[in-house]
């Protein structure tokens, strides 16, 4: 019979390793045996720092109202979407609630509709009457095949932010600009070589030719898109081609646009160019104004805003760019409780007013719009009440239809836009080729999988 007699003398490596082993075992027991707080847990993942600050303040209020619930709010930053993907793939470890960014949601919609990892919120939204209380077009990015997988965090209407002082110095009154034709005329006056060295020193507008952001915003403004409501590829439509022709002409024909300095609009180089007066206007969603305020506070008072120039008189003066949703995952054990937290963070009027106060993000809940804060003068815009302008434009936001192939499509669209602006292909060639590639990709999958 095995006699278990463990003492420090007979332990093969001596006293030290034995003490270390005992400490290891005790600490392991302590770590894994440590009990969590009592009550039901709700795990809530987010990726945006600004949202984290807001929810850190909101979550304790929810817990106070629901003493049996502990909310674990985790901000994973930029890696959150990959972690969520891994958790859904392994069918283990996903949170109860999660926020997802608009360019990332497509990949979560692949596969059979019943395999999608989010709970369909349409029945709850409809039965409780929330659809009518929010801007309905903002559900389209989070909807697929009739199901709604997320509730919009925001609207992200876009305005034209401009340097009133520099346009006025060029003899242009920007409030008179109503259409893109007006803008081109104004831009030709304001785009100037100030020191006579043959180089243009200030451009009327800065646009991103490396990615789809500005071009796609212009396309959405006219009701276009990459995919239609039924999932058909429409990026080679006449509307899309004409829009890309217009976009490239701003650079090459009218010469009033400069490519973004650096790699995107939020690049420090771009902010430096703004401060140097090289950029006179930019298409800015509400969140971008928030970035400007935090990154270039020294430009306070230099900007003004108008609605985007329309494509025809009395046409739509805005578009939408960016966005976040909140969804309940299918791994959530208590969707009813998660739904309560969702409503508390997304549908509570006072919380949404507070959100605007900290992030300048216009909420999709229409009932919040009459709060006085939205009418307050904005110091950064020289006293112009920017919130009022955003809310005026908000009901007219275009729909942006979601599709599982959006990530691949956007990646290829970036290349097509760059090829057109750098005149390697005509806009028609670039978009026709692009549409063909995406259709081929979809057709191949349909051949293998059928219509999922």
């Amino acid at each position: 019979m095995l006699r278990l007699s463990i003492d420090a003398e007979s332990f093969p490596l001596g006293k030290g390793p034995m003490v270390m082993l005992v400490l290891f075992l005790i600490s392991t027991l302590f770590i894994f045996g440590h009990s969590e707080e009592q009550g039901e847990d709700l795990e809530f993942w987010i990726f945006a720092n600004t949202h984290y600050e807001e929810y850190q303040a909101r979550v304790p209020l929810f817990e106070a109202e629901n003493p049996a619930v502990n909310v674990r709010l985790i901000n994973f930053g930029g890696t959150m979407h990959d972690k969520l993907l891994a958790a859904m793939l392994s069918n283990f470890g996903a949170p109860d609630l999660v926020e997802v960014e608009i360019t990332s949601i497509g990949r979560f919609l692949k596969g059979a509709i019943d395999e999608i990892g989010f709970v369909d919120l349409r029945p709850r939204l409809e039965s409780e009457g929330w659809m009518d209380k929010l801007v309905v077009s903002r559900f389209t990015p989070w909807s697929y095949r009739g199901r709604i997988f997320g509730v919009p965090h925001d609207l992200h209407p876009v305005v034209l932010l401009y340097r009133d002082d520099l346009f006025k110095a060029a003899g242009v009154e920007m409030t008179a600009v109503k259409t893109w034709d007006d803008f081109i005329a104004a831009g030709k006056k304001a785009t100037r070589d100030l020191d006579g060295d043959g180089k243009i020193d200030q451009y009327a507008i800065v646009l991103d030719r490396r990615t789809e952001s500005d071009y796609f915003s212009l396309l959405l403004q006219q009701g276009g898109g990459f995919f239609d409501e039924d999932g058909n590829v429409i990026i080679d439509s006449e509307l899309a081609i004409k829009t890309l022709e217009f976009f490239t002409a701003l650079f090459n024909e009218h010469e009033i646009a400069t490519p973004v300095y650096g790699t995107w609009h939020g690049d420090p180089s771009n902010f430096a160019a703004m401060q140097d007066g090289k950029i006179l206007s930019i298409l800015a969603p509400d969140w971008y104004v928030g970035i400007l305020k935090s990154q270039v506070p020294q430009m306070s008072g230099k900007w003004k805003a108008i609605g985007m120039p329309a494509w025809q008189p009395e046409g739509r003066r805005t578009t939408t760019r960016g966005g976040t949703m909140i969804g309940i995952t299918k791994q959530c054990k208590n969707p009813d409780r998660a739904w309560e937290l969702l409503k508390f963070t997304y549908f509570d009027r006072s919380g949404l007013v507070n959100r605007y106060e900290t992030t300048r993000i216009i909420p999709p809940l229409k009932a919040a719009w009459d709060a006085p804060i939205f009418r307050e003068p904005d110091v950064y815009l020289g006293g112009q009440p920017l919130g009022e302008l955003f809310i005026e434009l908000a009901p007219d936001l275009p729909a942006r239809y979601q599709n599982p192939y959006w990530s691949e499509a956007a990646d290829l669209l970036n290349d097509a836009i760059f090829a057109a602006v750098t005149e390697k292909q005509t806009p028609r060639e670039a978009l026709t080729e692009l549409a063909e590639k995406v259709r081929t990709l979809i057709a191949k999958d349909m051949g293998r999988w059928g219509d999922m």
Binding site: K110, P268, S407
Partner: protein, 299 residues
């Protein structure tokens, strides 16, 4: 080492199994975190996956698709471009720095060593962010200071300059790190060899060619192979510097394309295929390198 025998049967038995227990953690971890994923990814490369649960067997379909995929070839070209740039620019600079810091005539060697080594301590993401500013077309340090180029170069905005920009950034970040290997190699060369060469009438250059380089061969082989593997696995630097490989995939690398397919496009089978193709490329290139550098040769 002291060997102790005991009459306690528990410890006697334990002494027999102890070696296996000691090496078990490595093998367990290897099986869980390397063996299983390797086999799983190989299996995955033979399937096409869709969504979170559906998969169908496609055999070598992913491999044939990959070899017909122009973005894969472009990513492969970019990666090879970086690897060649690393071997032909970064490593000679590293060797030159090592020789300079090993010479008797340079003062403040410790400070210089630290200065050249320091960039590797900066995380790749921060390096990319810093160099994003450095390469800016109009306000960037490179275009501002190096007017000898005669024009504004769109380092990150024109396709042909994107990979050179990434290579130069790699030189800044890694040359000092490789310099340390070369320096260690140089310090290991016996002084008598140089004395013998001097007696034979060899000048500095002849001593370098006939003494320094042959003596450094194992270090050069190691640095070449490790640098080549690192180059072929390039990801974070161009991903941040070029904002995901733009414009027009000019900054795309194999690992970046793998990441995009796996995590952005949810084409996990295809991503696994890219991973295995990369594995074979690295294996072949490493073997060829070691062969050319004579590492398999018996002395």
């Amino acid at each position: 080492m002291r060997s102790k025998r005991t009459t306690n049967p528990f410890w006697n038995r334990q002494q027999k199994i102890a070696p296996y227990l000691f090496i078990a953690p490595f093998y367990l971890l290897f099986v869980v975190f390397m063996g299983y994923p390797l086999i799983s990814s190989l299996v995955m490369s033979l399937y096409e996956m869709r969504g979170f649960q559906s998969r169908i067997f496609v055999g070598l379909g992913n491999f044939t698709d990959l070899f017909r995929d122009p973005i894969f070839w472009k990513s492969l070209r970019n990666t090879a471009y970086f690897a060649i740039g690393t071997l032909t620019l970064q490593l000679p600079i590293a060797l030159l720095l090592a020789i300079l810091l090993n010479s008797k005539f340079v003062k403040g060697k410790n400070v210089l060593r630290l200065a050249f080594f320091a960039p590797v301590l900066v995380a790749g993401v921060f390096v990319a962010i810093i160099f994003n500013l450095v390469y800016d077309q109009r306000a960037g340090l490179v275009n501002q200071e190096f007017v000898l180029f005669g024009k504004e170069i769109g380092w990150l905005n024109e396709e042909k300059y994107v990979m050179p920009a990434v290579i130069l950034t790699g030189v800044w970040q890694w040359a000092g790190f490789n310099m340390i290997y070369f320096l260690a190699g140089l310090q290991g060369i016996r002084q008598e060899l140089y004395e013998a060469a001097a007696v034979d009438g060899a000048n500095w250059w002849q001593a370098f060619i006939h003494v320094t380089l042959p003596s450094l061969r194992p270090v050069i082989a190691f640095v070449f192979v490790v640098s080549m593997i690192g180059s072929l696995q390039l990801f974070d630097l161009p991903f941040i510097l070029t904002n995901g490989g733009e414009p027009a995939d000019a900054g795309s690398t194999i690992v970046m394309y793998l990441y995009k397919n796996g995590f952005q496009f949810m084409r996990l089978g295809y991503a696994a295929t890219i991973g295995w193709v990369l594995f074979f490329i690295i294996a072949i290139v490493s073997i060829v390198q070691l062969k050319l550098l004579g590492i398999f040769r018996e002395e």
